[in-house]
């Protein structure tokens, strides 16, 4: 938690649950990534947190943007981004969304299938297109599954077809999975990309860009490698794959840029110890006024394990299960991750969930169980 956020919480005592984001910290993280990867252009993944103050700050720093929808394209434009700095990075787009973005000046689009390529040729003629490869997500806390990406062999066919359709076969992308904690995932993926570059070059098609995706991790409860470790691994792999003929490099960080700039403050609704008549009796249940459907969607499967601060830190601790405030039995954040909280914790206490600037506000349900969406403060 940055001093500015701590001060804001102390002074304002905002209604809970709320998310407070230090926009200066966002800028620091953006610059740290720029330092670590000076050869890469940064396309901020808007989906991580599309708040206007964040987008405006990133525009002022010269960032580009990775938009998941026509609506996100509009948010970037409204924040002052130039359409040439926007990539429409979702491989699943309505024809109307492609046409609207193209009309607004966006000329860079992702795809991973014949069908999407046809749509791009029709609704965004001549645009730069890049094909997403399916790569291993081993090591990622929030893997991206088989939903996206295609094989090397299919990507080869698709890129040649893109040229035939009058599109600009710009490059290749991959995504190693969100909150990726292994540098090797990037190295393996870059190796595949380099192979396809060489292969297509032999077929008379010279690609110009490698999109490394996002995935750079934030330190939640467990330590993660430093960004410099990722940068070194990426540099090594790029040199091994491309020698001196380095293509343009793009990264699409979301979590890395905004996660640790944000803090969720929540009120404890209930701490109970229920007589289930078994070993679990000693485990208290702590119910917060935010849960899986109030923004903490990434606690599904206990994937993302946030650090939690309480007013009683330093005192005696005991095991807890942690759940949200709704009547939904699935609204449990942590039952198996060995969380411990102070035994002095009581209902009415305010607690902080740290590093929650990314993937919280937008996952929040509109009104599940009647609860209003999380309050947001950008300072």
């Amino acid at each position: 938690m940055t001093p500015k956020v701590a001060q804001f919480l102390a002074d304002r005592q905002p209604a809970t649950p709320c998310l407070v984001v230090d926009v200066d910290r966002v800028a620091e993280r953006y610059n740290a990534l720029l330092d670590a990867l000076p050869l890469a252009r940064i396309y901020y993944a808007v989906k991580a947190n599309p708040a206007a103050p964040i987008l405006r700050r990133l525009v002022s720093l010269g960032s580009s943007f990775d938009a998941a929808s026509w609506e996100e394209v509009q948010l970037c434009l409204a924040a002052g981004a130039d359409s040439s700095a926007i990539s429409f990075g979702n491989t699943i787009k309505k024809a109307s969304a492609i046409a609207a973005a193209f009309e607004a000046g966006v000329d860079m689009f992702a795809f991973d299938s014949d069908e999407e390529l046809e749509k791009l040729a029709r609704h965004a003629p001549g645009s730069r297109v890049y094909c997403r490869l399916l790569v291993e997500n081993t090591g990622a806390d929030w893997p991206l599954s088989r939903k996206f990406g295609t094989t090397l062999a299919h990507a080869r066919v698709l890129m040649l077809r893109a040229r035939d359709l009058g599109l600009d076969p710009y490059g290749l992308s991959f995504h190693v999975g969100s909150q990726q904690t292994s540098t090797e995932a990037y190295e393996a993926a870059i190796g595949k990309v380099a192979m396809l570059f060489t292969d297509l070059s032999a077929a008379g098609l010279d690609l110009r860009m490698v999109n490394l995706g996002g995935g750079f991790p934030t330190r939640y409860r467990d330590d993660v490698p430093e960004i410099d470790d990722f940068a070194r691994a990426i540099g090594r792999a790029m040199t091994a794959g491309f020698g001196n003929a380095l293509p343009e490099m793009i990264v699409e960080p979301g979590r890395f840029v905004v996660a640790d700039a944000g803090v969720v403050q929540s009120e404890v609704v209930l701490v109970s110890r229920r007589g289930h008549g078994d070993d679990q009796d000693r485990v208290r249940w702590v119910y917060l006024d935010i849960g899986r459907f109030g923004g903490l969607a990434e606690t599904e499967g206990e994937s993302i394990r946030y650090r939690i601060r309480t007013p009683h830190d330093g005192g005696e601790m005991g095991p807890v299960s942690i759940a949200g405030p709704t009547c939904d039995g699935a609204d449990i954040m942590y039952e198996r991750s060995n969380y411990r909280l102070p035994t002095a914790l009581r209902d009415g206490d305010r607690v902080e969930l740290l590093d929650t600037g990314a993937y919280v506000s937008t996952y929040c349900a509109t009104g599940f169980n009647g609860f209003a969406p999380i309050g947001e403060h950008y300072i």
Copy 2:
């Protein structure tokens, strides 16, 4: 899909994704439940769908309401419900929410812990309280876990304590899990409740109410027992447990009342067949403009399996995976449930997800990936 919904979709071609609910059908389902369980009072579980037209219709039919939050209490009052017809059924409540509801005239509250009971005694003195028992959720497609309810032994202590605290020890509740497809779950739970009634009566405390919770299933893809089957099982168990001295009975249906009154219409964004180089090649990926974060949260773990209608029904079918429109790899509805859809299905086609009146609109995220919340039409 009721004729009225079909007509509305044909005439209006509303923007997708949207939810269309036939409020007359809600009334039919309410009356069907009343017919099946004439001795029970119906407390509609507002969380299933809190839309004002639904609440107003149910008020006009004489329904009572199960509210999960102070916000839901307010929705009921705004729809014309009398405060005496509202139960605050969440066992996890902020002190301020209890006080506000009590102030508004609500005098019936759920609890399952010492800590919550203390809060009720302080902020809703003299109110009717009922203790939630932990019962087996076997047979439920959306089980409610260990988050709620306590043991018989603990409930006994709590009910006696409620009396000592000046509260009105009204009764006991349980919940067999949502979309419960086994009638036996109710019978077993009623047996436990009856035992505790007898036991407390011997201790000088006569309880007056049994709250059977909800859980009555809707027919999605698979057949489920009829409501009459549940009613007969409940009647048998109540007679076996209580003889002629039947206590007041309460049920809290949500899904049963509203699910099959609603239809989600969605647009196909992309149908692709990607060259993953394995058996999965023959499986098409169908991406809709609604997914797990756009309202179909109950497809988590493929728990609730909706029926899907397309304009090509009757033609050749083939296996599909079905996913939402976001860049999130977790936004997949069905990958392992052997869904098949027509091979003629194309992007731009409108499809209907049937029986989606419950637990859709309110789970919907505020703006994940930039997508606006689902449109809602109550007709």
